[in-house]
Amino acid sequence: MKNKVMQVDLLKETERQMHQILMHQEARDQYADGEGVFARANVADQAVHDGIELYARLIANGRRSLFASIYPLAETLLGKKFDALIQAFRESNKATHYNFNRQAQGLAQFVEANKNIYATRYPFLSELIEYEWLELQVMEHEGDLPPASHCAKDHHSPEEYAAISVQLNPTLIGVDFDYPIQDLIESIQSGEKLPRRFKKSPCHMVFLRDRDDDQRVVQLGPIARGMIARCRAKTDLTVGELLVQVLQDRELSEHHGSDLENLLSIIDDLSEMQAIFLV
C-alpha cells in the first residue's frame, strides 16, 4: 500500500511540474534552472525542451481559438490585447469543467474584478463579454422546450384562455445591463468608431433558445419583465393568475399603464418570442 502511494506521488509530481510549465509562462521560463524532473540537470535531451515549447504553443493556440470563437466581438474590440486578457484570465482561473467551451466561463467576472486593468478604455467590456457568453449558454442549455401548441387567445373563450397554463422557456436567462449593449454591439459589428465616453442606459435583456434551436435576445420592458419574474417564481401559473398578479402590483399598474388590453398584448408578444409557452 505504501509503495502504491509512493508511485502515485511520483506520477503526481511529474504531472504537477508539466502542468506548471505548460500553463504558466513564468514557470516555463525558469524550469530548466530548477530542481525538478524537467531540470536541465535531468534532461539533457533538446527534444524534451522542443516538446515543451510545442505543447505550450498548442495549448495557447487552442485556447485562443476557443475564446475567439466564443467572444468574437470582444476580440474585434480589443485586437492584440485580447490575447493578453485570456492569458491573464487562464493563469488565474482553472478550467474545472470537462466541456471545452466552459473553459471560457467567468471571463466577464474576471474583467469586472480587474476593470482598472482591462476595462479602462471600454467600461462596458465585462457586459459585452457577458452578453457573448450568454448567447452560447442558451444555445447549449440542457432544457427541453414543450411541444408546439395552439393556445392563442383568439381560439378560446376568455374563461378558457384564463385557465391555460403559462410555462417559462427553461433556457431563458434575464440580465440587467448598465450600458446600451445592443447599440454598442451594432457599432462594433459595423466597424464604427466608438465614442470616447459611454453613457449608461440601463436595460433588461433576455436570452433564450427557441423551438428551432435558434437564439433570441430581446430587451424587455418593466411589465414583461415582471411577468417573467412571476412565471419563474411559480411554475404552475395560469394566464388568469398571471394577469391578476400583475394588475395587483401597484408599482407596475401606476407607472406602466397595466390595463388589461396592454397585458394581453404583452402575453402575446412573450408567447410569440417563445419566452413563455401557453400550454
Binding site: 502504491k4 509512493m6 508511485q7 502515485v8 506521488d9 511520483l10 506520477l11 503526481k12 511529474t14 504531472e15 504537477r16 508539466m18 502542468h19 505548460l22 500553463m23 524532473v37 524537467f38 535531468n42 534532461v43 535531451d45 527534444a47 524534451v48 522542443d50 516538446g51 515543451i52 510545442l54 505543447y55 498548442l58 495549448i59 487552442g62 485556447r63 476557443l66 482553472k94 478550467a95 474545472t96 469543467h97 470537462y98 466541456n99 471545452f100 473553459q103 442558451v138 444555445m139 447549449e140 442549455h141 440542457e142 432544457g143 427541453d144 433556457t171 433558445r209 434551436d213
Partner: protein, 304 residues
C-alpha cells in the same frame, strides 16, 4: 488446449462488426448524416454530455440512423487525481442513451488538480504509472458496463523518468486492465517520425488481438514536428500501416478522423471508399484463409 480467454476477449467476440465510420462533427454533420458511405459514427462525448439545443438534435438524428460510439478527450485516465465521478455519471448517461457497444479515451492525462488543459499529454512510461492507469481503466470499464478501449496518442516528447518503450507501456496497461485497444495508425506513424522509432517494431510489441477499433487520419507539419491535426488527407505510409494492422488483427471498426480544414465532402467519401476496399479485401482474404486452414485441420484429424 488453448489459454483461457480473458473477460474482455470474451466480450470482444460478442461485439458487432460496425464497418467503416466517420467522426460526427458539427461542420460536416448534415453531409455526414446524408451520406450512404458511412456505416457508423463516433462522437466526442464531452460535446454532448448535458448539452441541449443543436447538439442534442444532431445526436438524436445520428442515433436514429447509425450505431454510435464515443471517443472521449477528458477522462484524463492517467491523471494522479481521483477519477471524476461527475464526469463518469454524465458519460454513462450518454453511453446508455446512444446504446454504445463500446467507448474509448486516450492513454494520457489532460487535467491536473481539476484544471483541464485541453491537450492530450504524455505520461511518464513507468511501471508505477502503468499500474495506476490500468487500475483506473478497469474501474471505468466496470462502471460504464461496456468494453472500454484506450487509444495510443500522438506525443511530442518522452517524459523524463520513463523506464520503458511506449508499446510495452501500452501493452502492460491494457492487459492488466483487461480492456481493449483503439489503435490510431496515424499516431503510430507521427510518433515514429517525431521520436525516431520503427513503427512496425512498435506494432509487433502490442497485443493486437485486443484491437477493437482503428483510427486513420492525416497530419500536418511544423519546422520540428509532425502534428496530429486530423486536418489533411491520409498519406501512403499511414495506409501501409493500416494494411499491416488489418492483416494482424480482427478489428470491429475502422474510422476516418477529419476534424478541421474540411475539404469537399466527396473527398472524405473517397477516403472512406479507399479504407473500405482495404478492409473488405483484407478481411475476405482472411476469411478465405481461415476456411482453408480449418479444412487442412479437419483433413489432418480425419480418421484414416
Amino acid at each position: 488446449m488453448g489459454l483461457k480467454k480473458s473477460a474482455f476477449m470474451h466480450s470482444k467476440d460478442q461485439l458487432p462488426y460496425l464497418g467503416i465510420g466517420l467522426g460526427l462533427r458539427r461542420e460536416i454533420a448534415s453531409e455526414t448524416l446524408r451520406s450512404d458511405k458511412i456505416d457508423w459514427l463516433e462522437i466526442v462525448p464531452e460535446n454532448y454530455m448535458r448539452i441541449g439545443g443543436h447538439a442534442r438534435r444532431r445526436l438524436a438524428k445520428a442515433r436514429a440512423k447509425h450505431t454510435i460510439v464515443t471517443h472521449g478527450v477528458n477522462l484524463s485516465i492517467g491523471c494522479a487525481d481521483p477519477l471524476d465521478q461527475n464526469y463518469l455519471d454524465d458519460l454513462k448517461a450518454l453511453l446508455d442513451y446512444i446504446d454504445a457497444p463500446w467507448f474509448s479515451d486516450h492513454l494520457c492525462f489532460t487535467s491536473f488538480e481539476s484544471d483541464y488543459m485541453h491537450e492530450l499529454l504524455p505520461l511518464p512510461l513507468t511501471e508505477q504509472a502503468a499500474l495506476h492507469v490500468a487500475d483506473r481503466a478497469k474501474r471505468v470499464q466496470e462502471f460504464c458496463n461496456r468494453p472500454f478501449l484506450l487509444e495510443n496518442i500522438s506525443y511530442y516528447m518522452d517524459v523524463p523518468g520513463s523506464e520503458m518503450q511506449e508499446a510495452s507501456f501500452f501493452a502492460r496497461v491494457v492487459e492488466r486492465a483487461d480492456c481493449g485497444i483503439l489503435l490510431d495508425v496515424n499516431n503510430v506513424y507521427v510518433n515514429s517520425i517525431n521520436l525516431n522509432f520503427d513503427p512496425y517494431v512498435y506494432l509487433a510489441a502490442l497485443p493486437l488481438e485486443r484491437v477493437v477499433q482503428i483510427h486513420v487520419a492525416g497530419h500536418s507539419h511544423t519546422d520540428t514536428h509532425l502534428i496530429d491535426t486530423h486536418g489533411a488527407p491520409i498519406i501512403e505510409p499511414v495506409f501501409e500501416l493500416l494494411q499491416h494492422v488489418l492483416e494482424r488483427c480482427d478489428a470491429k471498426a475502422v474510422m476516418l478522423e477529419r476534424d478541421q480544414n474540411f475539404p469537399d465532402f466527396v473527398e472524405i467519401e473517397n477516403e472512406l471508399d479507399i479504407i473500405r476496399k482495404m478492409v473488405e479485401s483484407t478481411y475476405s482474404c482472411k476469411t478465405a484463409r481461415n476456411i482453408c486452414d480449418s479444412t487442412i485441420v479437419n483433413d489432418l484429424v480425419a480418421p484414416l
